[in-house]
Amino acid sequence: MVQKLDYLRESPSQTAGPYVHIGCTPNFTGIDIYGGDLGTSMKTGPVQGTEITIKGIVFDGTGTPLRDAMIEIWQPDAAGLFPSANETRGTPDPHFTGWGRSPGDMDTGEFVFETVKPGAVPFPDGRMQAPHITAWIVARGINIGLHTRIYFDDETVANAADPILTRIEHQNRIPTLLAKKQGDGSYRFDVHLQGPLETIFFDI
């Protein structure tokens, strides 16, 4: 017998189930507790940079909106700094949390994030990544949380040089990662769990 590698195994994932909102956004479900739901607002005061709104819906393989999903986003501030204990490159915007959580609308499933346009962040090799937001989606029927990224369709130059976007084999799927600027100035980012428009999900 060779020596043992005594690493632990990550806890196996299980679905968030139909009642994830009880645990993560209880006030949304009518349970009055904690003085409010975490992640409802990403701004605690006047923020630096460009304020934006991102809206979207998560669709299943039949095109039906999910009305029991929970979506979380995580991003740097307008200067590309994360409001995180692990951020060692500078001081992030003190009025920006970087983290948002939405249960989606109870009837339509639409999620809305009021945030700021993220600054660029370097890739491990030092090249700059295009501005993006990390998104994480859980719901009944999703066995392990789905990671994806929200890039922006008005960042053509940065997107064309992004270390991840440029390495995607099926370039025709890149639009599934782009938030699309709407006439009212907001961005649209719909998520398709499967089908011809299936969003690119990350194993990251």
Partner: protein
């Protein structure tokens, strides 16, 4: 925008073991069929976007946040059901405790009923039980909370499927790559081996990893039994010469 200096030399997170974690498509759990991505996932090493995470301070917690027996109860009342303590540690794959991890948990009441507008099981609500709680791990990664043991309940999947008694957990570590939602089961529950959601786990070892044993050493005599549930999050790779300062 000015170019920021290079990120710190972290090793990044150890890749998720997709042979160990459940697959997205698991037909016996019917809802997964139309909610599972079919294309291959795009594999990439973690970047700062995944190696950072929001910070949750202990000061955001209320006194009863980790006491589900009382956090929704009227003054002087308490939730109905077998009183239990759930405790354990949040660790990473390297075996290190994860301090400051936010845990959120939710569950059905002792009759198997959730407090949710879309829930219609005929078992009654307990007016003194909300079904959610939260806590943040201590310096050594330990946590505990008090609750009542949830009941099993039927759910629409097969004609006669029942969930084993379980508590849902949502966990934040130090990097968004560690984000995890899972469920805790109770030792000895005969529904564990019958449940299609437990059944997506690929090995008995994986089922055991989510099954909390009775912990008599942590029971409170004449008050509450205790169950122990450790949670493991992804670990970071140790880089060669990790602690060596530049120029040395």
């Amino acid at each position: 925008m000015s170019r920021l200096k290079m990120p710190p030399k972290l090793g990044g997170y150890i890749p998720r073991d997709r042979n160990w974690q459940p697959d997205a498509l698991t037909p016996p759990y019917k809802t997964s069929v139309k909610r599972s991505p079919q294309a291959a996932l795009l594999s990439f090493p973690t970047t700062l976007s995944e190696e950072t995470s929001p910070v949750f301070g202990h000061n955001m917690l209320g006194e009863l946040d980790n006491d589900l027996i009382h956090n929704y109860a009227q003054t002087g009342e308490s939730a109905i059901g077998p009183r239990i303590i759930v405790h354990g540690r949040v660790l990473d794959e390297n075996g290190r405790g994860v301090p400051g991890a936010l845990l959120e948990f939710w569950q059905a009441n002792a009759g198997g009923r959730y407090r949710h507008k879309k829930e219609s099981y005929l078992a009654p609500l307990d007016p003194n039980f909300g079904g959610c709680g939260r806590t943040i791990t201590a310096e050594d990664g330990s946590y505990e909370f008090a609750t009542i043991q949830p009941g099993p309940y039927p759910w629409p999947n097969g004609m006669n499927d029942w969930r084993p008694a379980h508590i849902h957990f949502s966990i934040f570590g130090h990097g968004f790559a560690q984000r995890l939602i899972t469920q805790m089961y109770f030792e000895g529950d005969p529904h564990i081996k019958l449940c299609p959601i437990v059944g997506i786990l690929k090995t008995q070892e994986a089922i055991d990893a989510l099954t909390a044993p009775l912990d008599m050493n942590r029971t409170v005599p004449m008050d509450s039994r205790a169950f122990k549930f450790d949670i493991v999050l992804r670990g970071q790779r140790q880089t060669y010469f990790e602690n060596r300062k530049e120029g040395l």
